[in-house]
Amino acid sequence: MVSVTSWGRLSHHAHCVTAFTSGAAVADVIRSTRPGLAHGMGRSYGDVCLNAGGQLWATRGLDHFIAFDAGTGRLVCEAGVLLGDIQRLMVPRGWMLPVVPGTQFVTVGGAIANDVHGKNHHVQGTFGDHVRWLSLARTDGETLTCGPDVLPGWFAATVGGLGLTGVIVAAELQLRPVPGPWLATETLVQADLDAFFFLSDASDAGWEHTVSWIDCLAGDAGRGIFMRANPVEAGERPEPVARTLAMPLVPPVSLVNRLSLRPFNLAYNALKKRQAGRAIVHYQPFFHPLDNVRDWNRMYGPKGFYQYQCVVPRAVGPEATRALLQAIARSGQGSFLSVLKTFGDRPPVGMLSFAQPGATLALDFTNNGGRTLKLFESLDAIVREAGGRLYPAKDARMPRDLFEAGYPRLAEFLTYRDPGISSDMSRRLMGN
């Protein structure tokens, strides 16, 4: 047994970890050690990747590429391959993953199981939109291959299926052609929430990537920085030197607190304002700004932190977002990373896919126990009222009724569950 935590470092329970050493061995391993749960990089924030006291199947050993067609950009690989490894190999060949989340240190299997999104949802949708097929091992010994047109029910259940329908062993991904690793970016000062929604709508047609950082200490104003970008042919340029900083230890108290937040937010605001305007930026710092700080999650101290990410329908987006920011400002608990963006109108791929048309707000909160949970209750009320939902990949505490209300296809999903797979999250939100 070994202690395993997730990115939020909220719990440190013992798990029995069994590593997959080859794709061919997956079926035998899961049949002989079930019940269990596939676990990749442990980069989800809450309990979706945990199975306290039980079995975890480590997927990182499934890190082989299987085939690549340089003409069509179709890549077949095992599920433990990291998104960053795909980018590093394929960008020099003129191909890139169409959708990447905030960190490149996640596995392909994890990206599918959480149906992750990036800053370009209005153009490219979610990760699952670019999966042509995947192979899924069930704990009863069966292995099936599914895709948008083959066993589409299994595919829709597995994309965004939180690892609960089986173990994803391999997948074929459709990459997209790019002129190189560079993005043409524009950084704008966003005076308030209205400005955000205006900029966001105005950028949808001409910009692939849009995202906004909100200074959540400025109350409900929604003051912040709006960033947008497009891939660009920028010739040969020196690539940024990977300067990896690291958080070497867990500080005794969270470094994110009332004393540090205001100066940080002011400084970040000032820095970004100074950078306002157009620039050519490498994709890595733009897509994955925190990947250069190894173990940054330790900054929140021994009790860990929560991330709260919700999406609310576009029609009520401005009011609901304002209400959320108000509640956060009132609580006096704030976040370094308050990210606001809009999702496009495409229908979700998976039955439990998070992304839906609307506005999504993501915030980190130091775990201050009851005080933090109380704040979440007031945020939940706003999300529930707005007809929105929370992102399971980030969640460690949402109430079951909010999950059920936010995911109307849950009952259909449950028919595809693998009875030999269970997680802390599935027990919390689905009863088993």
């Binding site: 047994m1 070994v2 029995c16 970890v17 069994t18 590593a19 050493t21 080859s22 794709g23 061919a24 050993g61 082989h64 590429f65 299987i66 085939a67 690549f68 890549l75 690989c77 190999l89």
Partner: protein, 250 residues
Amino acid sequence: MSARNKIVILGATSAIAQHCARLWAAEGAGEMVLVGRDAARLQVVADDLRVRGRDMIISTRVADFADPQKIQAFADEIAGAGPPDVVLIAHGSLPDQAACQSDLAACREALEINALSPVLFAEAFVGHMERANRGTLAIIGSVAGDRGRKSNYVYGAAKGLVTRYAQGLQHRLAASAVRVVLIKPGPTDTPMTAHLKSQGVALAPVEAVAARITGAIARGSLVCHAPAKWGLIMMIIRHLPWFVFRKMDI
């Protein structure tokens, strides 16, 4: 590593060997011969390397790892098509020490796969390399071979044999252009050590270990500890006086 090299890897499905091969594929090696016992697993490794490297000739070979005649014939055949630039001998398995003590068959198997087999392959290839007067032969030993410890001395003894063998080979070839590199990895995060990880042993990332190894092979270093800190740690452990060492639970 200059382009168009011919690299032969024994035990090509081992995690350390695979990561070395990935680095060579990225650098643009010309030809790789992957040798192992399991054809299906070799195929997985070969497919992976074909995606990672472009314009490489990759072949897979299932070989006998015990029979001296078959090993010699195999080396003759591979070298007959042109002497290899790099031979990496990476096969081995980490035996359960308790099993080796209670079951002599397990003990013998551990010695055969970790000591005899690597030596036979090295001897079979090195003659060809000596005649061609070029190439680098790299053998994966272990820090465990530096001093016998109760927790895994059968494995340690096998790796210690590899160490002495490599030293002798280096001496023999000192005047030639052939390089012999002895690699001593510390505990590395691979499937072979998965059970150690669950016991809380700190393991080095296999990518970093592989980068040290390919660097040492490119330079033709005599000995390569991977990660480097193990050079210092093992120097201390080798020199600990008996009255201290005997009480240590290692």
